[in-house]
Symmetry: C2
Subunit: 202 residues, 2 copies
C-alpha cells in the first residue's frame, strides 16, 4: 500500500466526512475553501493534493452522503414487501433523518445547490441528476409493486413518484426551517393516508 514519498498525515476518509458535513450544512457556493480546510483540519495544498478541487471534493462528498445517508433509504425501498410499505418506510425514515440532533437538517441533495455561480452550473446539474435518480428509483419500486400485484395495473407510477418526491423535498425545506420530527411525522401521516386516493387517480 505504502509507496515512496512522504505519507499523508491525515485520514482521508475522516476528512471527507467532515467536508460532507460542511457542504450539507452550508451548501456548495456558500462554503469557502477556508471553511473546508478548517473543518477538515488540513491546509489548502493538502486538500488540493488529496481531492483535486472544490467541485471534485463536493462530488465525493455527495457520493459519500448517498452511500451513508441514502443507503438506508434505498434498502428500505427494496426490502419492504409492498410498494406502499416501501414508500411509508422511506417517508418515516426521512422524517427522522431530517431532524437528527447532531446532523444538518433536511436532505443534502435537495438543499446543497439550489443555486450556483454562472461558472458552476455543473454542480447544480450534478445534484439535479441525483434528485432525478432518487425519483426514478421510487418509480421503479412502484413498477415492481404493479408487477407483483400489490398495486393495480395502469397506475401512473412516475406521477405517483413525482408526488411523493415532492412531499419529501418539501419536508427537507421545512426541516431546514426548523420543523420538528413531530411536524414531519404529521406530514407523513397525511401523505400515507392519501395512498389509496393517490394511486387510483383517473
Amino acid at each position: 500500500m505504502a509507496g515512496p514519498g512522504r505519507p499523508r498525515s491525515f485520514d482521508r476518509a475522516a476528512a471527507l466526512e467532515r467536508a460532507m458535513r460542511v457542504f450539507w450544512e452550508r451548501g456548495y457556493e456558500t462554503t469557502s475553501m477556508t471553511d473546508l480546510t478548517t473543518a477538515m483540519g488540513i491546509n489548502s495544498p493538502s486538500l488540493y493534493a488529496a481531492f483535486g478541487c472544490k467541485e471534485q471534493l463536493f462530488r465525493e462528498a455527495v457520493a459519500l452522503y448517498d452511500a451513508t445517508e441514502g443507503g438506508p433509504v434505498t434498502r428500505a425501498l427494496t426490502e419492504a414487501p409492498t410498494a406502499r410499505d416501501a414508500v411509508e418506510a422511506v417517508l418515516r425514515h426521512n422524517a427522522c433523518a431530517f431532524t437528527q440532533e447532531d446532523k444538518p437538517r433536511g436532505c443534502m441533495i435537495v438543499l446543497a445547490a439550489t443555486h450556483c455561480a454562472e461558472a458552476n452550473t455543473e454542480v447544480r446539474d450534478h445534484l439535479a441528476r441525483w434528485r432525478c435518480v432518487g425519483m426514478r428509483e421510487l418509480a421503479q419500486r412502484l413498477d415492481r409493486g404493479v408487477r407483483e400485484g400489490d398495486l393495480p395495473a395502469g397506475v401512473d407510477t412516475s406521477a405517483v413518484a413525482s408526488y411523493y418526491t415532492a412531499v419529501i423535498q418539501g419536508m427537507s425545506v421545512q426541516a431546514r426551517d426548523g420543523a420538528s420530527h413531530a411536524t414531519l411525522t404529521k406530514i407523513v401521516d397525511r401523505a400515507m393516508a392519501a395512498w389509496d386516493a393517490v394511486v387510483t387517480v383517473h
Copy 2:
C-alpha cells in the same frame, strides 16, 4: 414631488422589477452586484443611493415578488367558497406560475436563499419568515373552513397546512429542475385526490 438636486435618471420601480427577476433566477448569494447593475442598467453608486445595500434591495425584491406573484395566491385563498376549493386553486395556480415560459421557475421565496454566507443569516431567516407566513395563511384559511362548516371540527389545520405547504415546496424544487406543467398538474391531482383522507387523519 421634485425637490432640489439632480433628478434620478432611471425608473426605480422598473429597476427593482429587474433586480427581483435576477434574485428569483439566481438566488441571493450567487447574484453579484455586477449581475444586478447590469440587469438594472445602472451603475453601482446609483444602486446604492436608491436601495441602500444588497440586502435591502433583496428585501424590497422579495416584497415586490410577494405583491405581484403572491397576490393572486392570497386572493384565491380568500375568495374561494370552501377550504378545499381554496387549496386546489392555490395548487393549480402554482402549477402554472412555477412553469411560465418567460419567468424563472419555482417560487422565489422557497428557492432564493436556502443557504447564505455566515454573515448573512438574516437573509435566510427573512425568507424563512415569509415561508412561515405563507403556511400560516393557509392554516388560517382552513380554520375558516372549520368555522364555516365545510371542514369537520377537530381537523388539525396546521398539520394539513404543513402537508400542502410541503407539496408546494416540492413543486418548486421540481419546477426548477425542469418539471413540466403537466408533471406539476399530476402532483396537484394527487394532492387533491388525497383531500378527504388528509383532513380526516385520526
